[in-house]
């Protein structure tokens, strides 16, 4: 479990072990949120599921196949549950669920850089210190009494972006390194509750003293992290053994297990859950790697999407499947495809999104956008509008107003439900 606070000073001042020992004293192992409140929260709260295909999934091998063309590669297109919509044969399970999703095939970020592409897709701006989609969801969608962190990222390895930017630190991503029980989640069995309470009282006393001559934001970061860790410690059942039925359906590989955890977290009321599937930066062996990676992704994701549908969760959960860019039309001498941000695709579905639509297109060879070009700014507005956030509004930060979405961009209106 890692939290990016945007501040490393505190990490050196209070050891993690003591931090969590203290947290237990406050949080204890009390009951979950009352069922009535949980039900109310679930009914009203919009949620987001982000599935991030890290490294840049190939649009040719996923959402925008061009079989038989110069750069089409070896894979064919298959029909989907939406008449007339075809996707790559590497996604047969997802193809059966496409009536729940829409494809945007005309994304042009004008960058081929991993970092810049990722930030544009997450922040809706090419540059500047702005919060990620998940952080905004945490701030504006999380119920006040939501017992879980607002923005949880499940990934087997990690990126340490400053996701909250100028928002309060508790809206930054809470990183879970896979489906395992986070380190130090469990209370030290050697100490009784009274001892924990004493430790916590001492921590609070230190905290008050610490606040006297330091910037408020640092203390807030500390407190927010503490509280979220404590909240998560109350919910260790989330990390208990996953049942065999789910493991068969999702797959017992890390991505399958991570998606089971994501579903569980969403069911428990987490506002934004991001699952990263690694391994798409295929400068070599693009086709064999996409076979392997998308085979793992396909059944798992389709199962997750089906579960969300079956449980009525797509009504209030936006689903995003995206990368920081796509891959080059040209196939290099290593059977690889390189970085390509000029014409690629992503898929959206669920809350606020018209299902079964195809937005934009690329030309015959997939080398450029043919119509309805959009970029990270348009997408950002679209994500937020889909979950009911007025992306044209402003953040109010310490007396200043900062536009939530890039004022130069607009939502993809025809995609919104």
């Amino acid at each position: 479990m890692k939290r990016n606070l945007g501040c490393n000073i505190l990490d050196h001042m209070v050891s993690r072990r003591h931090f969590l020992m203290g947290a237990t004293a406050t949080a204890g192992f009390g009951p979950l949120l009352p069922p009535r409140l949980m039900a109310e929260m679930k009914r009203d709260q919009k949620q987001i599921l982000q599935v991030y295909l890290q490294g840049g999934v190939s649009q040719f091998e996923s959402w925008d196949p061009k079989p038989g063309t110069e750069f089409g590669g070896p894979f064919r297109a298959i029909p989907t549950s939406v008449p007339g919509m075809h996707i790559s044969e590497l996604l047969p399970y997802t193809a059966e669920k496409m009536h729940l999703l829409s494809i945007i095939r005309s994304v042009n970020l004008k960058t081929d850089d991993h970092g810049l592409g990722r930030l544009f897709m997450e922040k809706g701006r090419r540059t500047g210190d702005f919060p990620y989609v998940g952080a905004i969801a945490s701030k504006y969608l999380s119920a006040e009494k939501n017992p879980l962190p607002g923005y949880i990222h499940i990934s087997t390895r990690g990126l340490t972006d400053h996701t909250a930017a100028f928002l309060e630190a508790q809206h930054g991503q809470m990183k879970l390194e896979g489906f395992q029980v986070p380190a130090n989640l469990l209370r030290d069995g050697q100490r009784d509750e009274a001892t924990y309470n004493r430790v916590n009282d001492f921590r609070l006393q230190l905290n008050r003293q610490f606040k006297l001559d330091r910037a408020k934001s640092l203390i807030d970061s500390y407190d927010a992290s503490f509280e979220q860790a404590a909240q998560l410690m109350e919910r260790q059942h989330l990390f208990e053994k996953q049942n065999d039925y789910d493991l068969i359906r999702y797959g017992s590989h890390p991505f399958g297990r991570n998606c089971i955890l994501a579903r569980t977290l969403l069911e428990e009321g987490a506002t934004c859950v991001k699952v990263t599937h690694h391994g798409y930066d295929t400068h070599a062996e693009n086709f064999n790697f996409h076979l392997e990676q998308l085979e793992e992704f396909d059944q798992t994701f389709a199962t997750l999407l089906g579960d969300l549908e079956d449980r009525g969760m797509l009504d209030h959960t936006l689903v995003m499947v995206y990368s920081e860019f796509g891959r080059t039309p040209k196939i290099n001498h290593k059977y690889g495809r390189d970085h390509w941000g000029s014409s690629f695709s992503l898929a959206l579905g669920g809350c606020g999104i018209q299902p079964g639509a195809t937005i934009g297109s690329t030309n015959e060879k997939g080398t450029e956008v043919a119509n309805r070009e959009v970029d990270g700014g348009h997408l950002f507005h679209t994500y937020l509008r889909a979950v009911g956030i007025n992306s044209s509004d402003n953040h109010a930060i310490e007396g200043k107003t900062i536009p939530i979405g890039d004022p130069a961009a607009t939502p993809i209106e025809e995609l919104l439900a």
Binding site: P74, R76, P254, H283, A284, L291, H333, G336
Partner: protein, 393 residues
């Protein structure tokens, strides 16, 4: 499916082993390029030696008359062709495509058309090979199955399962009736197709690697062949994965002694250069040739003499020995760790190799290049009659 000869007829058509006198890999030189505008994916030379066939990224197969350079298109596959083989009599060509199909063609037809199609696998059909008698085909594919087909009717005879990851290649043993296949993880399985059982499992996991950063496996046989007497199995691929998503791993050929089923040799480069070994052939004279696609874009042909290596491991290109002389030297011990062997000769190719075959006289090497060229190289001294001059078609 195409008509087939009987065993006796087929065997009577087999040419005697080519003479290997005057073949000297250290004298290899380029003699021709047959050009195509799209990258090639694999190649084979028909048993008569008249034609070379290559798959291309435009989904077609191309046939070149190696003497005239005439190019003929074989259209029909809906995806890239990964593997090809011929009936032993040289009459029929079988091609395996990423769309899962096996197609058959008449080798010498003026305008070859698909004679029959087997939908052999769900997902990519990675390999096809004719049985030594010509009556059967074996294939493997991404449904993780090994299958044997009646070559004449196209009906499935045998299905074998056991590979947990994609099998990349499968061969008939030339004499003992067994099948051998290797998968992504470097697991080599030996099968008795009559009994429908797996008889041996050979660990060639040196040919796979897990990329921790990208969380994915890379490996598997990119080519396989038997020595002409069936005593040695050669598997080409990769080893020592560093960053496979960028193509950073080493090419390798793994040799297996067929009698003991022991891995005996790791055939590597003289100096490590990242790449993939896309082709391997055991020459009748006893040396082994590997064809490499280098990460940086060039290629290599590597020549090893496994039998000679155990005693001296010394380069032989400075001696007067022919490759045939070297073959007679002491065979390596089978027990213990495999022997790591460096090539006695390395020939730089102008472009990545994606497939390799010998001509029927075993004097020339034909390479499918990533730049679309079908390169022809002769393993002998240049002559003064102009044969060494590159030609193009």
């Amino acid at each position: 499916m195409t008509p087939q000869e009987t065993d006796s007829q087929t065997n009577s058509d087999v040419s005697p082993p080519p003479s290997t006198s005057s073949i000297d890999p250290t004298k290899i030189h380029h003699i021709a390029d047959h050009k195509h505008e799209r990258p090639l994916t694999t190649c084979r030379v028909d048993p008569s030696g008249k034609f070379a066939f290559a798959g291309a990224e435009d989904l077609n197969v191309y046939r070149w008359d190696l003497e005239s350079g005439e190019k003929t298109v074989l259209a029909g596959h809906q995806s890239w062709v990964r593997s090809m083989d011929f009936s032993p009599d040289g009459q029929w060509l079988y091609t395996a495509g990423w769309e899962g199909q096996i197609r058959s063609w008449e080798v010498a037809a003026e305008s070859p058309v698909t004679l029959n199609v087997i939908q052999a696998h769900r997902g990519c059909a990675r390999w096809v090979q004719s049985s030594p008698c010509g009556q059967m085909l074996t294939t493997c594919g991404n449904d993780k199955r090994i299958r044997v087909w009646d070559a004449a009717s196209g009906k499935q005879i045998v299905e074998l399962s056991g590979h947990r990851r994609h099998p990349y290649a499968v061969l008939f043993h030339p004499t003992d009736g067994h099948l051998v296949s290797e998968d992504l993880m470097g697991i080599i399985r030996v099968w008795d197709p009559q009994q429908l059982i797996e008889t041996n499992l050979i660990d060639a996991s040196v040919m796979t690697g897990y990329d921790n950063k990208f969380a994915a496996d890379m490996g598997g046989a990119r080519d396989m062949c038997f020595s002409s007497d069936g005593s040695t199995l050669a598997c080409a691929g990769i080893t020592a994965v560093v960053n496979s998503f960028a193509g950073e791993q080493d090419p390798i050929v793994v040799l297996v002694d067929w009698q003991s089923k022991a891995v005996t040799h790791y055939l590597k480069q003289t100096e490590r250069k990242a790449g993939i070994m896309w082709g391997v052939r055991c020459h009748p004279a006893g040396f082994v040739v590997g064809a490499v696609a280098l990460q940086g874009g060039g290629g290599q042909l590597l020549f090893w003499q496994p039998a000679a290596s155990h005693a001296t491991n010394a380069p032989v290109n400075e001696s007067d020995q022919t490759a045939g002389d070297q073959q007679a030297q002491t065979a390596p011990e089978l027990a213990g760790e495999p022997i790591e062997l460096k090539p006695y000769h390395t020939f730089a190719l102008p472009n990545c190799a994606r497939g390799m075959d010998f001509t029927s006289d075993a004097r020339r090497v034909v390479i499918a290049h990533a730049n679309g060229n079908l390169g022809v190289y002769e393993m002998a001294e240049k002559t003064d009659d102009g044969a060494a001059e590159p030609t193009a078609s």
